[in-house]
Subunit: 124 residues, 2 copies
DNA sequence: TTTATTATTGCAACAAAATCGCATTAAAAG
DNA sequence: CTTTTAATGCGATTTTGTTGCAATAATAAA
């Protein structure tokens, strides 16, 4: 199933690259340079996640946030870092800080989802 | 607005106490000893959170999980610890491990939401 | 015990986030 | 240019959670 290059893909990725932070669907949609259907934007975002281009974080507001992967492999998402969600501007950024943790005996950790909520530099 | 004791409140709390872990709405509903309306269960859970009886965690599956507070004050929820969500039995537990973190200069941290996903001892 | 007050409930409607079915469109391979 | 099928648009649907409102019932007052 070879991927095709389309205006929708380019437009979505452009928005996320320009933002430099993770955005939720609504924010992506609002910043698109061309008109794309809602469902298509969702599908593009999901495909990018499958392909290791974006990674997805679910925040306390119940929404999915998408960010361009920097240290992620297309085989495996590296997301062992903290995320900071600003309640002011609805963005979410990957912090460099790695998350240190252990699990109880017999437990098996598969992935983590660590978010710090607050105000970013601009919104503080 | 003085709270009243009702069968619905008792039943919901009984389920959560017996579980000893955080459960989402659906799981609470499925384990009730009496028949209670969906909306009522949601309202009971929210009221318990307001009153500092339960605390709420939003997981990667986009659902809210509710757990009986142990170290929480009725004034302020103490939730600076990791949570473990088992993808096998759909439960979520508070781990004793506190979360260590720092935020970039100028950023203001207000709350955290840290979840480790994987398999619990029973489901590993 | 009886009555009054109003928190709580049930039910249906609603809202928001995300997904899905399906016919149509358009990348890109040949 | 033709063919193949990934990607799109559009509407319907699902899932999670909230809300309006009339009816019910817990609790305080009489
Ligand atoms: Mn990240
Ligand atoms: Mn907790
Ligand atoms: Zn901000
Ligand atoms: Zn389990």
């Amino acid at each position: 199933m070879r991927r095709r290059n389309t205006p929708a893909k380019e437009a979505v990725l452009e928005v996320l690259k320009k933002a430099g932070k993770a955005l939720n669907h609504e924010t992506v949609q609002d910043n698109l340079s061309i008109d794309i259907d809602r469902a298509t934007v969702y599908r593009v975002l999901n495909r990018f996640c499958d392909d290791g281009i974006l990674h997805r974080v679910v925040a306390e507001d119940g929404k999915q946030y998408f960010a361009v992967c920097s240290k992620c492999d297309s085989e495996k998402h590296s997301d062992n870092h903290f995320h900071f969600r600003c309640t002011g501007c609805n963005t979410l950024e990957c912090l460099p800080t790695p998350v240190q943790f252990t699990v109880p005996d017999g437990y098996l950790a598969e992935s983590i989802n660590c978010i710090i909520n607050g105000r970013c530099k601009n919104c503080a």
